[in-house]
């Protein structure tokens, strides 16, 4: 057997789940590293990885930790299907398979010197968090950072520590949090994310990174347009069914692009060239 087959992009390597944190009732954040310690691979903010839990198969997740975190990868995973359900049941120390990184990334180099506006909804904060932490770890490279985050209820917030502590404490960084409707004991902002963006009336010279449920993205884009943002200033991520991660299996094909390879990050003007099938 030639050793070249080990390099096949479809073959995972073994990694170990080092720490598991429960964020919400159905979201957990997993820290994953090589059995001997360290990252299984080098990646950039916005990229994804395929996690395997044999014999149930694989699923792709965005890496929520920043590349500046050298000890482990983090994945925030919502329990929605067979693979995620299995992941939610495993204990610390369990070995899983991992392969990656896949897809393109947020253009962290090109964004240097710019004011950044992150807009996240629900679990959609996961890929953004990678960039946010990257930017904060290289704070002097970037301008003002605004983070708008919304969830259905206060119980549905992911990465609470970041939202309430780590990010707020940073210089020139504002976190704006909202929930969909009134809740007892909730004194913060109430309303959907798009409305909140409109209320906050951001100046249109910022670069925007959006991720969340498709319906939220749709309305956020409308509001941003109203506020005078150019499509070229807005980046978002797409999510389609993916299997191979290398742009061949055809599942995430949309137009002449493959989300797993040419995405998941798209600038909105490029997204406009694709058929509306996502």
């Amino acid at each position: 057997m030639s050793c070249s087959c080990h390099a096949d992009p479809l073959v995972p390597v073994v990694a170990v789940v080092d720490n598991i944190r429960r964020d919400t009732a159905d979201i957990k954040t997993f820290q994953v590293k090589k059995p001997e310690g360290g990252l299984p691979f080098i990646f950039k903010p916005g990229q994804c990885a395929m996690l395997s839990v044999p014999p149930l198969g694989e699923a792709i997740f965005s890496i929520t930790s920043s590349p500046t975190q050298q000890e482990f990868l983090e994945f925030s995973i919502k329990n929605v299907g067979k693979v995620t359900d299995c992941l939610h049941q495993i204990e610390v120390g369990t070995e899983i398979g991992i392969r990656g990184p896949y897809g393109n990334n947020f253009p962290v180099e090109a964004l240097r010197g710019k004011d950044l506006l992150f807009i996240g909804g629900g679990i959609g904060l996961a890929p953004l968090r990678s960039v946010i932490n990257y930017a904060l770890d290289n704070r002097s490279d970037y301008g003002k950072i605004d983070i708008v985050y919304g969830a259905r209820s206060p119980e549905d917030f992911v990465h609470r520590n970041d939202l309430y502590q780590n990010w707020v404490e940073q210089a020139d960084t504002d976190v704006h949090i909202t929930v969909d409707r009134e809740f007892e004991g909730w004194n913060g902002h109430v309303g959907f994310v798009p409305q909140y963006i409109e209320e906050l009336n951001f100046s249109s010279d910022k670069t925007v990174l959006v991720c969340g449920p498709p319906i939220m993205i749709k309305f956020v884009l409308e509001v941003l347009e109203k506020l005078g943002f150019d499509q070229k200033q807005i980046y978002t991520t797409l999510e389609l069914k993916m299997k191979c991660g290398i742009g061949k299996c055809g599942r995430c094909n949309i137009g002449d692009k493959y989300v797993c390879k040419d995405g998941p990050v798209f600038r909105c003007d490029e997204l406009g060239k694709l058929p509306d099938e996502y």
């Binding site: 030639s2 087959c5 479809l10 390597v13 694989e58 398979g97 389609l240 299997k243 094909n253 002449d256």
Partner: protein, 345 residues
């Protein structure tokens, strides 16, 4: 150029079989498919097209590539080693052309090493089509059925009781050399006969009912064709089976699945079909909810998306879908409906 009498072919198979896994068009229970040769196998070199295309050899319908074993929290993964070297005999020029289209996908970055290895281990022997049938339209994709196609290591022509043989690649030459005791040199007469047969092909092609298919006549950009009203009508009769995608030599969508074999198991790659309702089904919904979107995806991919990426159509005009689709929703009808037809030749 070499030749071999057709009644000597069994000796040839036997000889090749000693060193290679040999795939031939073999009839089994009424269906002709490429399968491994065994003595007594019913080889059918006259079958114009096999049911399953030879795609099944270079990109098998099911291919196990990983085994795993779980013990407590431990996970063991092992890559499955590949098969021996093989020879495929009797690949038609359209099917040879399809290999290049699959190569574009699988050998593009990041390279699919399993596929690459499969390709490297294979030797392709083509067989020219001297009697194309009514469902053939390879000429629409500039494929010459009588030719020695690019991508074949050896090209052959069936002249009734003779098979003419020409090595094309270095690999093909070495292979031919190793079979020299069974192959003899052709005579001037044989060459002449071949030239005559080849010359006669053009008329036969022009006589075919689907000769006017011309995908390059399709007008409009990606989004225009996508939004065309044609799809509203075309998809209606589609039953949503996956036959067209499975018999198609250029369809390459696949799935990766695990088999749970009681504590240990394996992961395999298998063909999948964009015609199936669950193809794009995710936990939070399905972006292609009706058969219309699925049918559109398949043909947009073949006629627009793939050409945008690789500058050729993802169809070779083999006629399998034309012959097999239960409701005759084949690519010819789609191309024509989109305006891909020429009036004169």
């Amino acid at each position: 150029m070499k030749k071999i009498a057709k009644d000597q072919l069994a000796l040839l198979w036997e000889k090749i079989d000693q060193n290679y896994q040999l795939f031939l068009p073999i009839a089994k229970e009424k269906a002709v498919n490429f399968s491994t040769w065994k003595e007594g196998a019913e080889v059918d070199l006259d079958a114009l097209r096999t049911v399953n295309s030879p795609k099944n050899i270079i990109f098998p319908q099911t291919e196990t590539y990983l085994t795993f074993k779980k013990e407590g929290k431990k996970l063991g993964l092992e890559v499955v080693s590949r098969d021996e070297e093989y020879v495929v005999f009797g690949v038609r020029p359209c099917d040879v052309a399809s290999f290049k289209l699959l190569d574009n996908v699988f050998l593009g970055e990041p390279v699919d090493k399993f596929y690459e290895e499969n390709r490297q281990k294979g030797l392709i022997i083509s067989q020219a089509c001297l009697n194309p049938e009514e469902t053939c339209f390879c000429n629409a994709f500039a494929i010459n059925p009588e030719s020695a196609p690019v991508g074949a290591d050896v090209a052959t022509w069936d002249l009734g009781d003779l098979l003419l043989w020409e090595a094309q690649s270095e690999k093909g030459k070495a292979f031919t050399e190793a079979l020299s005791d069974l192959l003899e040199d052709v005579s001037e007469d044989d060459r002449k006969k071949l030239d005559e047969v080849k010359a006669g092909i053009k008329d036969k092609l022009e006589d075919l009912p689907l000769v006017h298919v011309a995908p390059e006549k399709i007008e409009g950009g990606l989004k225009e064709i996508f939004a065309s009203e044609v799809w509203d009508e075309l998809y209606q009769r589609c039953l949503g089976c996956g036959m067209c995608t499975y018999v198609c030599p250029t369809c390459h969508c696949y799935d990766l699945k695990d088999y749970n074999g009681n504590g240990c198991g394996e992961r395999f790659r298998c063909w999948d079909s964009c015609m199936f309702s669950d193809f794009t089904m995710m936990a939070h919904g399905n972006p292609r909810t009706t058969q219309k979107e699925r049918v559109r995806q398949r043909f947009m991919h073949k006629l627009v998306y793939y050409p945008n990426n690789y500058e050729s159509y993802a169809c070779v005009g083999c006629g399998r879908c034309t012959e097999r689709c239960p409701v005759r929703l084949d690519i010819v009808k789609v191309i024509k409906k989109l305006g891909g037809e020429r009036n004169e030749l």
